[in-house]
C-alpha cells in the first residue's frame, strides 16, 4: 500500500488516515467528515452540546443513533464479564481524577467508583433512560465503533479496498495482508513484534498513554474508580473494530483466555515485567 492515497483528518481528539488505492472523491471525503462530526456531537462528553452532555445534566429518556444498539449490547456483556469493572458509566470517575471536559488533569478528591449500571441506567437498543444524571463515557469502544461506521460509509460508496488508521487502531479491508508493527509500550521508536493484518481490525490499548500524574491513567476499574495496573499494553484482532477496541480494554480486567470463551478474537497482553501472554495468532510474532 506504499502508493496508496491518504485522506488524513482530525476526529474525536485524534489523528485519522483513510488509505485507498485511488484518491477519494471530495463528496465522499465530506461524507466521512460529516459522519465523524455527527458521532462526536452525539457521544462526546467533552462537548456541552452533545447528547451525552445532556444526559450528564438531566435525567430522562434519550434516543441515541442506530449505533447505540450494538454498542449497548457489547458494553452490557463486558460489564458482566468484568464484574462491573468495565462500564460506560466510568465518566464520573474519570472526571474525578481530572480527565474532564476542561482537561484540568488534577484529581478532585479520592477515586470515585462508577455507579452501578442497574441502579441508574436502562440501555435498551437505541434508547437510554437514566434515573439520575450520568456521565457516559464510551471511550473503550467508541473509537473502534467510529472506525466501523466510516468503513460502512466506504462500503456504501463502493470502495472495496481501504485501510483506516485511527492513530494505531486499524481496520484493513480488501487488501493484501498488511504488515503491522506492535509499538513498544515504553518506547514508540521500538516494536515488540510484527503481525499480518488481513481483512480485520487490530486495536491496541496501553496503560501508559494519556498519563497525567503519579500512577493515574485512563484505564480505570469501575468497581474501585482506581487506575488498573500490572498489564501495561494489549492488542486484539477481531472482525469489527468496535469489538477489537473494547476487548483491548477488557484485557486489563479479564484474562484473554476467559474472554475467548465469549468472543471470537485474537489477543496479546504485555505485563509490567515485560512478559507477554497471547492467543495462537500472536504465536511467534513477538521478538524475544
Amino acid at each position: 500500500m506504499t502508493d496508496w492515497e491518504d485522506f488524513s483528518f482530525q476526529g474525536i481528539g485524534t489523528e485519522w488516515a483513510v488509505s485507498t488505492p485511488l484518491p477519494l472523491p471530495m463528496s465522499l471525503r465530506t461524507r466521512l467528515l460529516d459522519r465523524v462530526e455527527k458521532f462526536d456531537g452525539d457521544w462526546s462528553r467533552f462537548r456541552p452540546d452533545s447528547l451525552v452532555a445532556e444526559l450528564a445534566r438531566k435525567r430522562g429518556r434519550y434516543g441515541f443513533p442506530d449505533e447505540a444498539a450494538p454498542l449497548g449490547e457489547l458494553y452490557r456483556l463486558l460489564y458482566r464479564l468484568t464484574g462491573g469493572a468495565m462500564t460506560p458509566l466510568i465518566g464520573g470517575s474519570l472526571e474525578r481524577l481530572g480527565y474532564d471536559a476542561a482537561y484540568t488533569l488534577r484529581p478532585d478528591g479520592p477515586p470515585l467508583p462508577a455507579p452501578e449500571w442497574e441502579s441508574v441506567l436502562t440501555w435498551s437498543g437505541t434508547v437510554l433512560t437514566a434515573g439520575a444524571p450520568v456521565v457516559l463515557d464510551i471511550g473503550a469502544a467508541g473509537k473502534g465503533l467510529l472506525v466501523d461506521l466510516l468503513a460502512a460509509e466506504l462500503d456504501a460508496a463502493g470502495v472495496s479496498e481501504f485501510v483506516i488508521d485511527a492513530s494505531g487502531d486499524l481496520l484493513a479491508r480488501g487488501t493484501e495482508p498488511l504488515s503491522v508493527a506492535l509499538e513498544h509500550p515504553y518506547n514508540p521508536a521500538l516494536a515488540i513484534g510484527v503481525v499480518d493484518l488481513d481483512g480485520r481490525a487490530l486495536c491496541a490499548s496501553a496503560a501508559n498513554r494519556r498519563t497525567w500524574g503519579d500512577g493515574l491513567h485512563h484505564v480505570l476499574d469501575g468497581t474501585t474508580g482506581q487506575p488498573v495496573r500490572t498489564a501495561v499494553a494489549t492488542w486484539t484482532m477481531a472482525e469489527t473494530a468496535m469489538v477489537a477496541d473494547a476487548l483491548a480494554t477488557a484485557l486489563f480486567f479479564v484474562p484473554g483466555a476467559a474472554l475467548q470463551e465469549t468472543f471470537d478474537f485474537s489477543w496479546l497482553t504485555v505485563f509490567s515485567d515485560g512478559s507477554a501472554a497471547y492467543s495462537a495468532e500472536f504465536e511467534g510474532m513477538l521478538f524475544s
Binding site: 485524534t14 508493527a181 518506547n187 515488540i192 510484527v194 498513554r209 499494553a233 515485567d273 492467543s279
Partner: protein, 159 residues
C-alpha cells in the same frame, strides 16, 4: 504452549512514514514509571525519560548524552506493591537498548500471570521500528500534542 521464538525480519530503512509517527507515537516511560536520570536510582526527579530513534528526533539535530538511563516506579496494585524498572541505553544519541528490568514482586501477580492458557513469552524485547519492513504501527492512542510535548521534554532534559 511453548514460548514464542525470535522471528527474523527483513531489515529495511524504508517502512514507516514520518506522519505516522506523529500520529501514533506516545510518551516514553510515562505513567507508572517516574523520573529518570543517567545512572541514577533517584525516582523522584519527575522528569521525562530520554528517548531517541524516532524520525522526529533524528531530524532535530540535537545530541543526546550517551549512557544508561534507568527509571523505577513503585505502585500499589490490588495484589500489593509492585515495582517496574525500565532501563534505556543511549549510544551515539540513539536508543541502543530498552529493557524492562524488574519483575512484579508479589507472588499473586506472578501466579495470575501464569494462569493464561495462551502462550507466554518470558521477556519481550523491542526492535527499531525504522528497521522493520512494516506498513503500519499499532499502538495506543495519543494525540500528536502529547507526542510533541514529550519530544520537547526529551530535548531539554537529555541534552
Amino acid at each position: 504452549m511453548r514460548p514464542s521464538s525470535p522471528k527474523s525480519l527483513p531489515v529495511s530503512r524504508h517502512a514507516v512514514r514520518n506522519g505516522l509517527f506523529a500520529g501514533i507515537a506516545g510518551l516514553s516511560l510515562a505513567g507508572t514509571v517516574a523520573g529518570c536520570a543517567p545512572s541514577s536510582a533517584d525516582s523522584t526527579a519527575g522528569s521525562a525519560a530520554p528517548s531517541a530513534g524516532t524520525s522526529a528526533l533524528a531530524g532535530s539535530g540535537g545530541g543526546y548524552k550517551d549512557g544508561t538511563y534507568t527509571a523505577d516506579g513503585n505502585y500499589v496494585s490490588p495484589n500489593g506493591t509492585e515495582t517496574v524498572g525500565v532501563q534505556l541505553t543511549l549510544a551515539a544519541g540513539k536508543v541502543a537498548d530498552v529493557e524492562i528490568t524488574q519483575h512484579p514482586s508479589n507472588p499473586n501477580t506472578r501466579k495470575f500471570q501464569g494462569e493464561f492458557a495462551g502462550g507466554i513469552a518470558a521477556q519481550v524485547v523491542g526492535k527499531n521500528i525504522d528497521e522493520l519492513n512494516v506498513s503500519k504501527v499499532a499502538g495506543s492512542s495519543l494525540t500528536s500534542g502529547g507526542f510533541n510535548q514529550a519530544v520537547e521534554k526529551i530535548k531539554s532534559e537529555a541534552q
